[in-house]
């Protein structure tokens, strides 16, 4: 489906960002991921990670809650403000129930209790990466569709909006007060420019781009 839309998703390396103030813990987590061939970067404080440029590839964050200076929960809140969309997996000690709850409410993907078993860690990290991969892929598809929609003329866009409600050419023409023949031409252009073989595909693509039947074009 949508040939050529999702290219380049795997081009950027997948990275796990480990943030823990404890040197030994950092090293062991890093090794464990490396032994599975997962690329990772370590940070000794929340501040150090915040100072880094936003990662634009697939990734996830392994974040210790209990750290001196800025805590994990604080960092999470700040990243959300900055529009950071990497999934966050928290690491907590025993008994940090209340902060774990706060973290999950704010959208943390998961939390792991230290000491973390390798299997749990890898499962959580893989799940987070998979999720982010899908998020990024969806974003790319959406961007590609939007780019194609942008290439349509205003009239073609109007025709497309009518088409995705399932109307036949004649009704589209009536609604837009144009000749049926003209409507047919526009429709052919829309399908060609959007790269769609059927109206069903077009409806689905519009849905992915956030355009629902009956919507008005805002631009």
């Amino acid at each position: 489906m949508f040939s050529g839309l999702a290219t380049g998703v795997h081009a950027v390396t997948e990275t796990v960002f480990i943030i823990d103030n404890d040197h030994s813990v950092r090293r062991s987590l890093s090794r464990l991921l490396r032994s599975e061939g997962i690329r990772n970067e370590c940070f000794e404080s929340a501040q150090a990670y915040e100072d880094r440029d936003l990662h634009n590839g697939v990734g996830c964050v392994l974040l210790d809650i209990n750290m001196p200076g800025m805590s994990g929960i604080e960092l999470q809140a700040r990243l959300l403000e900055r529009g950071h969309n990497l999934p966050v997996v928290f690491l907590t000690g025993h008994g940090d129930v209340s902060s774990s709850v706060t973290a999950l409410k704010r959208g943390a993907l998961d939390y792991l209790t230290k000491p973390v078993d390798e299997a749990d860690l890898l499962r959580a990290v893989r799940h987070a990466l998979k999720l982010h991969r899908r998020v990024l892929a969806d974003a790319r598809v959406r961007n590609a569709i939007r780019a194609r929609i942008d290439a349509l003329t205003p009239r073609e866009r109007e025709v497309m909006l009518q088409l995705i409600t399932g109307m036949p050419n004649k009704l589209v023409a009536d609604r837009l007060q144009i000749a049926t023949k003209t409507a047919k031409v526009h429709r052919a252009h829309v399908m060609q420019k959007m790269g769609m073989r059927s109206v069903a595909e077009l409806v689905h693509a519009c849905h992915l781009a956030g355009i629902e039947p009956g919507a008005e074009f805002d631009r």
């Binding site: 813990v25 090293r27 062991s28 090794r31 464990l32 032994s35 200076g69 025993h94 000491p115 973390v116």
Partner: protein, 478 residues
């Protein structure tokens, strides 16, 4: 031997005993004013039977005049002390009445010593012999009644009224229950002394003076009440001491709970690292061509983390170890360092920096290290709380250990808002606190611990702001 002589000697001895009892109570309870007053009362009362005894066996008018002079002084002292010590025990008595009675007696005593004769007789005219029913001869003075004698007589009427009024106003309170024996004693004294005075003065009936017997009842009642109360207070002190000991134990358990939580967290870190490293090593080894250098590095890390965990446990064990009897001296600097090391993480989390300044070559101090640690932990927690609560911009806890006056002092000062003057000295009393969620026992127990070791714990506000606690402990000479 004369029966009268025996009776008076016994009364004098009994009054002396009661006076000594009061002196003893005073010695153990120097803050209570009623004990010295009652002691004065009992010793003055002891003089009365001795004077009476001399009086009844003397046929000389001039001797009578002189003895009555001194007897009046003794009676005045006894009555005035009865009034004021009753007031100390029963605060509902009227102050103006006590002042009035005292004033009347001051006038009386002035008349007694400054005008001719004494307060009873302005002139002793004759001494007349009488016989007791059992055939003993005694003498009674006759003379011109002093026109100022009413000042003394009126107090005999006023004192029971003063006592009954005070008792009536306190009738439903515990101070009445405690002091009613004294009120009855005073009323009995008036009945005996008053009746006797009327009989003597009207000349219907003659008896030797026995005012001392009446006073005896009053003093007996005072001693009874005060001794009973002293015993009760002693029991109360013991109860308070027991409660404090119990609180100290509970606080220790509570603090150990906190210590354990922190340590659990500390030990979790090396444990996580060890688990991760070991599992990574397994994976590396499972590869076709394992990188042995990597494995070696992992093993070195595991060993290091294991040692770290062991050190944490060793520290824990040292902190939990009770004060054993052989361990009664402490190196104040290292104890302080341990506590600060323990608190480091928590303080850092609240963005508070702790600074330790310690003098070189400090002597060891008396006291178990664990007890001192408990006090320091408490003081540092208080300092931390003060800074957090005030949300201070400057967040520093300074700890100084220095030599001072044959011992060592540790100062814990914070950059918080300090302590309000009106509460500062009361802070060490039980249930006094500046925190919302606190029982107010922490500093009470801290001071107790330090004082048990022979030291003292004080608090002051620094001129630059913030509170400063000073714990001084004597140097250990053993």
């Amino acid at each position: 031997m004369s029966l009268l002589g025996i009776i008076w000697s016994m009364i004098a001895a009994a009054c002396g005993m009661l006076g000594l009892t009061q002196a003893f109570l005073w010695w153990h309870n120097r803050k209570r004013i009623e004990f010295p007053i009652s002691m004065l009362m009992a010793f003055s009362a002891m003089a009365i039977p001795l004077l009476e005894m001399n009086l009844v066996f003397s046929a000389d008018a001039a001797h009578h005049d002189r003895l009555i002079l001194w007897m009046n002084l003794a009676v005045a002292t006894v009555l005035v002390s009865i009034v004021w010590s009753l007031r100390a025990i029963l605060p509902t008595t009227r102050r103006w009445a006590a002042v009035l009675i005292t004033a009347l007696w001051i006038v009386g005593i002035c008349v007694n010593f400054l005008l001719p004769g004494n307060l009873t007789f302005s002139e002793v005219l004759a001494v007349e012999p009488y016989m007791t029913p059992w055939g003993e001869q005694y003498f009674i003075a006759k003379g011109t009644i002093n026109p100022w004698k009413w000042t003394a007589d009126i107090t005999v009427l006023l004192i029971p009224l003063y006592a009954i009024d005070g008792a009536w106003r306190a009738r439903k309170t515990s101070s009445f229950r405690q002091s009613r024996a004294i009120v009855w004693g005073i009323v009995l004294f008036v009945l005996i002394a008053g009746t006797q005075a009327i009989l003597l003065d009207t000349g219907h009936y003659q008896t030797p003076y026995t005012i001392s017997l009446a006073f005896f009842f009053v003093i007996l009642s005072f001693t009874w009440v005060l001794a009973k109360e002293a015993v009760r207070a002693g029991k109360l002190d013991e109860q308070i001491a027991r409660t404090l000991r119990e609180t100290e134990r509970l606080m220790r358990i509570n603090m150990m709970g906190e210590v354990a939580a922190t340590l659990a967290h500390e030990i979790n870190q090396p444990l996580s690292a060890i688990l991760g490293n070991a599992q990574a090593a397994e994976k590396f080894l499972a590869r076709q061509d394992p990188d042995l250098d990597e494995i070696r590095e992992i093993l070195a890390d595991i060993v290091r983390d294991d040692k770290r965990a062991r050190d944490i446990i060793t520290n824990l064990r040292r902190m939990l170890k009770g004060d054993s009897s052989e361990d009664q001296k402490a190196d104040l600097e290292s104890v302080t360092r341990e506590v600060l090391a323990f608190m480091e993480r928590q303080l850092a989390q609240n963005a508070i920096s702790a600074q330790l300044h310690a003098e070189k070559n400090l002597p060891r101090v008396c006291g178990g290290p664990v007890a001192i640690q408990q006090v320091l932990l408490n003081l540092i927690l208080n300092a931390e709380h003060a800074i957090i609560e005030a949300n201070a911009t400057k967040r520093v806890i300074e700890v100084r250990v220095s030599k001072k006056k044959g011992g060592c002092e540790v100062q814990v000062s914070d950059s918080g808002p300090g302590i309000a003057e009106e509460i500062r000295e009361k802070l060490f009393e039980p249930f006094v606190t500046t925190k919302k969620l606190s029982l107010g026992m922490g500093l009470t127990v801290c001071r107790r611990i330090i004082e048990n070791q022979g030291g003292h714990l004080t608090i002051e506000n620094q001129t630059k702001g913030g509170a400063c606690f000073r714990a001084w402990l004597p140097a250990c000479t053993l």
